[in-house]
Symmetry: C2
Subunit: 445 residues, 2 copies
């Protein structure tokens, strides 16, 4: 029903600006950078994600005949301009943080260097794609840090904001360290491991809970995870202990149970005791229901004997911080650095690079935001990934990105890994960059 | 890139349950209802939206050959079950609140009556579609109530959670009373009016702000809305006063200005004075930048002379309440009412209807949640919209839905229209429904 990769998936003002640039013949090279103005108070760091989809978008960008007809008929654009759009392609250069990279406020995640109109049109969709996956990867990473040895599964499709959000949330959570997702299409599209159990409705559709357990196990012998809390969680655990020997006769082992309501920690302890006493120590416990990194730490601190968790709503909508201040700003046009000076929204001009220093034992020691042509101490993080509108390398596999994210999280200073807000990580501004900004401000007066 | 209407856009457990139902031959009629458990504290009412896309989904639902192959190969499902999925279609009945209807907690928005497997599989995507649009329509309605005579435009595409969210947010905001959207594809797909101005980058790409204004006006003579806050808002307004007579010679009138940063109310007052003194009283003022219903009321209370507003991030991600507790629960199977009794998540069983009473002067006087076959005083709100898997009526036009929403908002009790949390609207539970629930609880012990 919904086409997600249309060139018209943009804001109207991009097209009105393009018409101006067309009339004025302003086709010189523009440099835009994508960065976060401020971290939300609930985040100590972010994880870059979404580059793969952004590069797909740039490589395939064009106006279809139907879209051109619609533009010609909508009364806003001249025939000459619409005719020019027929040949529109993205032919620029892209520098980016590799997906899975930890980054901070003011650090460019992406730089576009392209003829002005090309660089301008792509703003809306680039932000839309990269904002969302970065949002979810960053939230997922906090969950992973809160429960590092637990199996975490994305359960959030239903409350994600639409289909694309559901699919890309599964991708973003997996690259940040989740074990998998419940969203089947994400498994098919991205090769992410799938997890799933049963809903309360299956229990309710049977007249007796124990019948539901038995029949589900027989129909799904390879993956028997039973939901205990439809009526009475502990009573259900006892039913399961009774059922297990009969299933064993069929050669079926109960793999796990899920608890989705009530006092999860207390139910988990009770159920663990019942299962252990019933000779089912190998049955794993899986918890779900309004979980996030805060609830995970509470449950684990409370000694709840869970082996894994399904995280839904609060992950897929990043409910405590549902947006990031991700912006895309002109830094240079026609060879001259540019600076926006709006109140509270001033930007650092020029083509920038992020330089990261490491401690001797491999932890992040501080970043420096500098100009690309005036290197600072530390390793540069932005790399060139596209030239003349084409990827320079094959797509990275999600597994490679996931490993990078895990290595980055391991290098993160300890206080930034906590749930609580920490003192901001040090991102210095290189003196050359400060001087450039000051010079531009002077020249404009 | 992303297919949004795949039958695999569902949670894995739906398919594992379907396999159980297939093995058990459980194909009798199930009744599921979709409802909100609790309103978020920030919402006094909700507006139903998303039915059109939900019905599209149900009418077109099927597994493609590629999807069936993938299912057969993934190792979780038997060949017999996968073969049966090839013939899977939705053949059920749907009752629903018409889009644009105001509703409250516990009131079913949608009821599905269908063979168990069909009714089960569709849960994830139905919630995904209806949750999001209802979320956004409800947020947009609060903005409309906060600024009833102002032109409100959806500016949120970039921070919406993905492409589908951006498009459906534009639709949901428009049906709730917004004047239009900036998202071009939403204009093309849904016929929603488009609005757009310019970005700061257009100003920055020119060496002089006044040149940017003039050239934009000449390239876009029919829609000259100029952005004032790139450098100095009041200085920009003075430049515009100087420029206006020259544009008038070309036959071009400046239609409006936009202010996007700083103290919006104070800038608006200053700019209004400068424009009026400069013989430009007809130029309208448009405000943007982190707006929502709270900021709108503040700005208007502060006497800010704005004519319209662009609402982005806080609308398209509904940041103060980014999810709703929308659930889809089995109410009846094989002719017997069913009740989930999980702690804190118990449901009202049976096929329900919402009966709404009105005051003599046409305001909502209170609802009653009752059983469909035991009518209560008031008008029933759920109507049958689909039978045997086909729509009973042509799609409603968005204009009709929008008029309904406006009429409903006008009938809303005054305290529910405020930004502040109000005492909940009265939703009684019919005695027959209480009795049914009590009887089911007794029978299960």
């Amino acid at each position: 029903m919904i086409t997600t990769d249309s060139a018209l998936l943009t804001d109207l003002y991009q097209l009105t600006m393009l018409q101006t640039y067309h009339v004025e013949r302003m086709h010189e090279t523009a440099v835009f950078e994508l960065f976060i103005r401020r971290l939300p108070p609930e985040r100590n760091f972010l994880i870059a994600a979404g580059l793969e989809q952004a590069l797909d978008y740039l490589e395939n960008l064009h106006f279809t005949a139907k879209e051109l007809d619609w533009l010609a008929d909508c009364g806003r654009f001249g025939p000459d301009f619409v005719a020019a759009l027929a040949a529109f392609r993205f032919t620029g250069t892209v520098h980016a943080l590799p997906e899975g990279t930890v980054f901070f406020a003011n650090e460019p995640m992406l730089r576009i260097t392209a003829p002005l109109s090309q660089a301008q049109l792509v703003e809306s969709r680039l932000i839309n794609l990269i904002h969302f996956q970065t949002l979810i990867a960053s939230k997922a990473a906090r969950c992973v840090l809160a429960a590092p040895d637990k199996l975490l599964v994305d359960f959030g499709m239903r409350r994600a904001h639409g289909a694309e959000a559901a699919l890309l949330a599964a991708r973003a959570a997996w690259l940040a360290g989740f074990a998998g997702t419940a969203t089947v299409l994400a498994g098919m599209k991205f090769g992410i491991p799938l997890f799933g159990t049963m809903a309360h409705s299956l229990i309710q559709a049977h007249d007796r809970e124990e019948d539901a357990f038995e029949r589900f196990a027989i129909a799904q012998p390879g993956n028997v995870v039973l939901l205990l809390d439809t009526y009475d969680t502990e009573a259900a655990a006892h039913k399961l202990v009774k059922l297990a020997p009969r299933l064993r006769e069929y050669g079926i082992a109960i793999k796990g149970v899920r608890i989705d309501s009530g006092d999860l920690a207390e139910h988990a302890r009770q159920v663990r005791r019942i299962l252990d006493a019933g000779d089912l120590p190998q049955v794993t416990l899986f918890g779900s229901g309004d979980l996030d990194e805060h609830r995970l730490r509470e449950l684990l601190a409370d000694g709840a004997p869970f082996d894994g968790f399904g995280i839904g709503t609060r992950l897929d909508a990043s409910t405590d911080a549902p947006t990031l201040e991700l912006v895309y700003k002109l830094q240079e046009y026609a060879g001259r650095p540019r600076r926006k000076r709006s109140e509270g929204k001033a930007t650092w001009p020029g083509r920038k690079q992020v330089y990261r220093q490491m401690t001797a034992d491999g932890a992040f020691a501080g970043d420096c935001l500098g100009l690309e042509d005036q290197p600072q101490p530390g390793a540069p993080l932005l790399t060139k990934v596209m030239e003349r509108g084409r990827r320079l390398h094959p797509s990275e596999s999600l597994a490679v990105i996931r490993d990078r994210a895990q290595a980055q999280l391991a290098a993160l200073p300890v206080d930034l890994r906590a749930n609580a807000p920490a003192l901001p990580y040090s991102v210095d501004i290189a003196p050359e960059l400060r001087e450039l900004a000051a010079r531009l401000d002077r020249e404009s007066h």
